[in-house]
Assembly symmetry: C2
């Protein structure tokens, strides 16, 4: 999927609606992927994200040690991969191979972009104070990519146990900032 740079000031528009994401890391030359649903924006610019990664996840050690990752946003076409990646562990499986996903070089981090995802956010861990108590990492997005396709991209929202709501209609209401 061809991508272009997305201004960092617009990153919140991708995360705020609450899509499930796939997080890539790379440790000792070995890339991995996990599925993540617990994350939120906490600052517009520079864009900061707060996310939960359990210390039971194989990716946890990679994120903690390398302090880098990529947040990849899948569309509904990747639903099977999202669930597959979330149901297997990188300690035993090369998830890129198993789920037919393509790693691409990022610009500023070792972790790869997932080519098939419509958007990719290169992140650095900027605060680890909450890791020991809550498994919460604070990430700064340092580079963002989005597909050049004009087609509407429908994301997935996880409701638990493999049930997802897919993006439906879009509504726009008159809105003024105070």
């Amino acid at each position: 999927m061809a991508k272009k740079s997305l201004p960092l000031s617009k990153v919140y528009q991708l995360i705020e609606p609450g899509p499930v994401v796939m997080v890539t890391t790379s440790r000792k030359g070995k890339p991995n992927i996990m599925t993540m649903a617990w994350l939120t924006m906490i600052e517009f610019e520079p864009p900061l994200i707060m996310c939960v990664m359990s210390d039971l996840n194989y990716s946890f050690k990679a994120l903690k040690e390398t302090k880098e990752c990529v947040i990849n946003i899948p569309t509904v076409e990747l639903a099977k991969q999202v669930v597959g990646v979330g149901s297997t562990t990188g300690s035993k499986v090369d998830k890129f191979k198993k789920f037919d996903l393509t790693p691409e070089d990022a610009s500023y981090v070792e972790a790869p972009l997932i080519k098939e995802c419509y958007a990719n956010l290169e992140c650095k861990v900027v605060d680890t104070k909450l890791v020991s108590k809550y498994n919460v990492f604070i990430l700064e997005i340092i580079k963002a990519w989005i597909t050049t396709s004009k087609k509407r991209q429908r994301t997935l929202h996880h409701c638990g146990n493999g049930v997802f709501v897919v993006d439906g209609k879009i509504i726009k209401l008159p809105f003024k900032s105070r």
Copy 2:
């Protein structure tokens, strides 16, 4: 809207999909409402939520002082109220009156439930260490309510500037916990 108690172990299923919510507080006998889109689960049980409330919000002082709030989840039928509540300040306006919303008594907190929302989560602030740096509060949900209606409830996901994606179709994929 008639409500029943929702087991706390199921609260994550409401928040994980990323709906926009309306947060109620009450300070010195004066209830208020704000719209919030930056929140995530961080623990299943007891259910913990991490949310961002700017110190520019009128509700900030109420949440910080009373350490209580209710997270109310609106459906698409309340879209106008969601935007209206998010575009006005409680310092000047009684938002319940202005937006024709009905406060109902909560069980464990002073902040009211919004009757018209399909789910209501009574919360206590349990950690304020991140407030000064990030405006981030950690909330424990101590009581949860959900509509008794069997009708499907479609929530809103905010994409910025008054643009919302409404819940679309539901898909269920085979899923096994590791």
